[in-house]
Subunit: 282 residues, 2 copies
C-alpha cells in the first residue's frame, strides 16, 4: 500500500511516521509546499520521498490531506477530479471543521472515494519537526457523514486509524462542528485571549517568566498554536464558535459580578459547578 | 529542628515530605482540622505526629501556616501572640495573596518573627492525598515585605526554601498581588468559566469525554481546583482580579468581533500577538 501525505506538519508527519513504522504503508510519499519544511521532512526522514501533488495523487492508494482547512477545501475537489477513471483510490482529510469540506464535494461524482475524518490529537507545535510517533494512541477519531462514502473505503480507513490506535466515533458533519466548537475551538480562543491579556497587563516579560506557575503554563499552552491552522477553523466554524464565545463571556461576567460584590457564596457555587468537570475528565 | 505544619493539604503536606526527607526537619508535627484528612495524613505518614494547634505552636521552631488565606489571616496573629516571650521561633505562611495577611500583622509586636512567602507551585488537586515529593523543585518562591522580618529569620527561611529547590524572588506584598492576578489568578477564573461553558452547552457528558482533546483538558485543568482555597483568594485580591478580568473580556470581544466580521487578517494578527507567549514560556 502506498500512502501519500499532503502537508507534512504535526498531523501529516505524525501519521506518516506511525503508518510506516507499524506496517500499514509500504511506502509513504509526501507533498510539502513550503521548501524549508520539505527539506526538513526529507532530512528527518518523515517520508520515503517528497513528490509533487500530481505524483502523490496518481501514485498513492490512499491520499491524506493534512493541510489547514481553508486550503483543504480547495484541494479536495482537485484530488477527486484526478481520481476520475480509477476505482480503488481513497482520499481522506484530517481537518478540525467538517461542515464546509463535506458540503464542497457533496455532488462530486467521485464523492464516495472520500472519507471525512478528524483525528482528535495534537500539540501546540507545528511543522515537520513537531511530528512524533504515538501522537494518536488512545485518542478519538471522528468519521463525519461516513454514509456518503463507499463502505469498503470506510472500512480501509477504519483500519488505518485502528493502526494508529484511535477510537472511531461516527457523527454528522454539522454536529461535529457544534461539538468541537465547545470542547476544542473555544479552548484555543480562551487561551489566545489569556496570552493577550497577560502580555498586555504585564509589560515586564521577566515577571511572566518568573511567576508563571504550572497552572498558568497549562492554561496558556494553546496560545502557542499557529495562525495558519486556526484562522480558517475559526472562520469556517464562525456561527458555532460565536455562540460558545457568547456563553463564555456570560460566565465570565457572572464571576466578575460575584467577585465584585464580595459574594463568596456565589463564587463558591460557581466553582463547585465548574468542579463537575473532574468527574468527566479524569 | 522541629517544623510544625498547620494544614496538611497539597502544599503543607508536600513541604512536610521534603523537609523531613531532605534532612531540614528532624521532626515534623502536623495540625489538621478535618478529622478525615488528619487520619489520612497520619496513615500516609505525612508527618511524625498529628498534634493540636497549641502544641504545634509551642513545640515548633518553625511554624508553617498552609491553610486557605481567609483562615490564615485569622490564624497568623494567634500564632504571633503565642510567640510572646520566645526569641527564635519563626512563623511563615504559604498563601497566594499577600497584601491583606501582611497588613493584618503590620503592628504586631512580634511581627519580625513572621516571614511572608508564596511558594509558586501546586496542582489542581487538594488534600493530604495530593501531597507529593519534589513538588517545589525548580519553581519560584516569593518573599513579600521581607524587610519587615528579622534578617536572621529570613535567612533561615531562605535556607528552608533552598532545601525545597526553590528560587527566591523578593517583592512588595501589593506588587505580588498585582502580578499573581495576571499570571495565576486569572488562569483559574478562565478555566472555571470554560468548564461552566462546556457543561452548560454540552449536555451530553459522554460527548465531552469522547471529544475532549488534550488541548481542552489542559486548558480546563485548573477548573478542578478547590473552592476552599480559591474563594478567599479571589475575594482578597478582588480589585486586581477585576481589572484583569475586564481586560480579558475586552480581548475576548476583540476576537468575537473579528470572527463575526470574517476578518481573517485581524484574527491572524491577534493570534500572532498571542504567539509571543512562546518566546517567554518555553
Amino acid at each position: 500500500m502506498i500512502v501519500s501525505v499532503i502537508g507534512l506538519g504535526l498531523i501529516g508527519g505524525s501519521m506518516a511516521i506511525d503508518l510506516k513504522k507499524r506496517g500499514f504503508a509500504d511506502r509513504v510519499l509526501g507533498v510539502e509546499n513550503d521548501p524549508v519544511n520539505a527539506a526538513a521532512a526529507e532530512k528527518i526522514g518523515l517520508v520515503d520521498e517528497v513528490v509533487s501533488f500530481d505524483d502523490a495523487v496518481s501514485r498513492g492508494d490512499i491520499v491524506i490531506i493534512a493541510v489547514p482547512v481553508g486550503t483543504a477545501v480547495k484541494m479536495l475537489p482537485q484530488v477527486l477530479d484526478r481520481f476520475a477513471g480509477t476505482k480503488d483510490k481513497i482520499v481522506i482529510d484530517t481537518c478540525s471543521t467538517k461542515g464546509q469540506i463535506v458540503r464542497c464535494v457533496h455532488y462530486h461524482p467521485m464523492r464516495s472515494r472520500y472519507v471525512a475524518t478528524h483525528p482528535m490529537a495534537g500539540t501546540e507545535y507545528s511543522g515537520p519537526w513537531a511530528a512524533m510517533p504515538n501522537l494518536f494512541d488512545g485518542r478519538a477519531c471522528i468519521f463525519a457523514n461516513s454514509e456518503e462514502s463507499d463502505p469498503k473505503a470506510v472500512k480501509t480507513i477504519e483500519n488505518l486509524y485502528d493502526v494508529l490506535n484511535m477510537r472511531p466515533i461516527y457523527m454528522n458533519a454539522d454536529n461535529h462542528d457544534v461539538h468541537t466548537a465547545y470542547v476544542s475551538h473555544i479552548s484555543h480562543v480562551t487561551s489566545f485571549a489569556l496570552a493577550l491579556t497577560v502580555l498586555d497587563k504585564e509589560k515586564d516579560e521577566k515577571h511572566i517568566f518568573d511567576l508563571a506557575s504550572g497552572g498558568f503554563s497549562s492554561t496558556v499552552r494553546l496560545a502557542k498554536s499557529n495562525a495558519d491552522m486556526w484562522v480558517p477553523i475559526l472562520s469556517q466554524n464562525r456561527d458555532n464558535v460565536l455562540q460558545v464565545i457568547d456563553t463564555y463571556i456570560d460566565k465570565m461576567k457572572e464571576f466578575r459580578e460575584a467577585i465584585s460584590d464580595y459574594d463568596e457564596e456565589k463564587i463558591r457555587s460557581l466553582i463547585g459547578e465548574a468542579n463537575r468537570i473532574k468527574k468527566i475528565l479524569r
